[in-house]
């Protein structure tokens, strides 16, 4: 509304002026079809050119995707990720210097089981998407979210990144690529539609229990995002991809940014919303759609017939106050109506954020959040896990009444009875767990079942999410096992701390 007003100094004339005659600001000939920002009106052709250019420019500017890289496109079926897929296709079909030179694959995580789709509906949705994917000629993987239950614990451990690539390496890679002219096409290794992984009903039920065990829609969202990301990273690793492209657009990221702040994820903002996210080490998450608004994408998809498949989410048909994520969305979109630069202003803020935990040199996973794999914000420098516990305890008790409303009177520390029988850690041949620790109070002597308290292993925000769960028993095994491992490790480290010369240098004394 504002864009139009600004052009007519006398707002009262507005209805009289046939704005259909407004010209495109770029070619100044064709009549305008789309209003991008205040005053920027493009005709259909110029809009297409602008849209396509922006994608290539984003990749060119950031130089994270190298020629010949295997890049996994995470396509949810939504308009943004389907638009991303169409831009990759577009880029690969360009000639010579404009051509994109990486090797794409597609992954679709089928979340139908947790958003209440029936088996039939899921099959139908997958078939619809497979048709889209097959038409691209790219290899694709359809992965039911239920497979998150079978993940290895290594998913939540930051893997060492494959040697840092200096800026100069980019040009070398381009030259090399041009010389060898290899990788013009991957052998499409399609999944045979008939051999789609069969999802046991028990797995779907387990997953549903897990999501439902979170009492608020806000926590369910958060949990689902976490699980999805773990599965994406795992799929990329097992299929040999080093980069994963996510379809987040700038409207979505603006909402995510404000949501993250409300959820206590301030420390992780840069990673959560930036162009690239290297928290997993060997796999880099990239967000090439972050310059497009949801509006641009919706118009482009409509005008140029980009197929997307609507898939219900946890938010479908919920009111605007159902969750913090939903409320923030409604806040941003409402503001956007009267102040069209709302989204871009928030989004610019996110660009100024620095990656806090960029290249953490330590390979110790214990300073990473068990769920979101970001650097723990709960522990200050040199603080023990005990202090971290205190910190988060205090924060969650005193400062955030909005959250505690959902909690019962006691601030229920989330605990679980370990299923590991006492002493079993020793039978595994020592190694990192017991080694030759001499102090008598080692894990071998403790007869009581070890209690795994997840609190010290989580960042502040994930801790809040877990607090909203009725029980952590529903968490998948890979998370619980890794939690036990970390607890054992930090316990051992405490026990031998007086023998250590330097923090973190030789806690593997047993090896």
């Amino acid at each position: 509304m504002c864009q139009v007003d600004e052009d007519y100094h006398d707002g009262l004339d507005r209805a009289e002026v046939p704005s259909v005659f407004k010209k495109c600001v770029k070619c100044k000939e064709a009549s305008a079809a789309v209003v991008i920002r205040a005053g920027d009106t493009f005709c259909r052709d110029c809009f297409k050119e602008y849209f396509i250019h922006k994608f290539r420019a984003m990749l060119g500017k950031n130089r994270i995707i190298f020629p010949g890289d295997k890049v996994l496109l995470a396509v949810s079926g939504g308009s943004s990720s389907c638009s991303m897929l169409s831009q990759v296709q577009e880029g690969l079909s360009q000639n010579a210097h404009k051509k994109l030179r990486f090797l794409p694959g597609i992954v679709y995580i089928d979340e139908g089981g947790v958003v209440g789709q029936s088996v039939d509906e899921r099959v139908r949705t997958v078939a619809e998407l497979q048709a889209v994917f097959r038409a691209t000629g790219f290899p694709f993987y359809v992965v039911p979210l239920e497979q998150v239950l079978d993940l290895p614990s290594s998913v939540v451990v930051m893997a060492p990144s494959s040697s840092e690539q200096p800026a100069s390496a980019y040009k070398e890679a381009v030259d090399q690529f041009l010389k060898s002219n290899s990788g013009s096409c991957l052998n499409p290794k399609d999944q045979d539609p008939t051999s789609l992984p069969v999802v046991p009903e028990a797995h779907t039920q387990f997953l549903q229990q897990l999501i439902v065990s979170a009492k608020t829609l806000t926590a369910r969202h958060d949990l689902l995002n976490t699980l999805r990301q773990h599965l994406l990273v795992h799929t990329a690793r097992t299929e040999g991809y080093r980069k994963v492209m996510l379809g987040d657009n700038c409207t979505r990221l603006a909402i995510k940014l404000l949501t993250s702040i409300s959820l206590g994820r301030g420390a992780q903002l840069a990673q959560d919303t930036g162009f690239s996210d290297s928290r997993y080490g060997d796999i880099i998450l990239v967000r090439p759609m972050r310059d497009y608004s949801a509006k641009e994408i919706a118009y482009y998809n409509h005008l140029f017939n980009v197929v997307s498949v609507f898939i219900p989410s946890l938010d479908t048909k919920t009111t605007e106050k159902a969750s913090i994520q939903r409320l923030t969305e409604s806040f941003v979109t409402k503001l956007q109506v009267d102040f069209p630069s709302t989204v871009s202003t928030i989004y610019r803020t996110s660009e100024k954020l620095q990656t806090a935990c960029g290249s953490s040199s330590t390979d110790d996973s214990s300073d990473r959040c068990l769920l979101c794999v970001c650097t723990l914000d709960t522990s200050g420098e040199n603080s023990s896990s005990f202090q971290a516990t205190l910190t988060s305890e205090q924060l969650s008790q005193t400062k955030y009444p909005a959250r505690t409303k959902t909690d019962r009177l006691h601030p229920a520390p989330v605990e679980l009875e370990s299923s590991v029988p006492s002493g079993s850690c020793c039978s595994s041949g020592g190694g990192e767990d017991c080694g030759e620790v001499e102090s008598g109070e080692g894990c071998c002597s403790s007869k009581e079942p070890e209690k795994t308290n997840l609190k010290t292993l989580l960042c502040y925000s994930c801790h809040l999410t877990i607090k909203d769960m009725s029980s952590v028993e529903h968490l998948p095994q890979y998370i619980l096992l890794e939690a036990q491992r970390r607890k054992r490790r930090s316990k051992m480290r405490e026990e031998i701390s007086e023998f250590l010369l330097d923090d973190g240098v030789c806690f593997r004394v047993g090896d």
């Binding site: 864009q3 259909v20 079809a33 409509h302 219900p312 479908t316 969305e329």
Partner: protein, 101 residues
């Protein structure tokens, strides 16, 4: 008196869920004393097509923020938005950009 007009309506991005999942609708607006405008169309849709949860489609006199409107493949911001006067055979598209429709 303006004659009845036939228009084509399309809902996408999840907005179709509020219309029994039906994306395309060919409708005829009855004749009335003054020409139909988009504001009146929204009221008509609410009374005749919308199956549930009107607040998820309209808010106040306009569409819910986050739902985009195209009139004959052009941004409705260029066409006068709610004041646009409908013509016979117009094509009006509503696309939700909200998460989950």
């Amino acid at each position: 008196m303006a004659a009845p007009i036939a228009i084509h309506l399309e809902f996408g991005g999840g907005a179709e869920l509020l219309f029994n999942g039906v994306k395309e609708h060919h409708v005829t607006l009855p004749s009335q004393s003054e020409p139909w405008d988009l504001k009146q169309l929204l009221v008509w849709i609410q009374r005749n097509l919308l199956k549930e949860r009107p607040e998820l489609f309209v808010q106040g006199e306009s569409v819910r923020p986050g739902i985009l409107v195209l009139i004959n493949d052009a941004d409705w911001e260029l066409m006068g938005e709610l004041d646009y006067q409908l013509q016979d055979q117009d094509n009006i598209v509503f696309i939700s950009t909200l998460h989950g429709g």
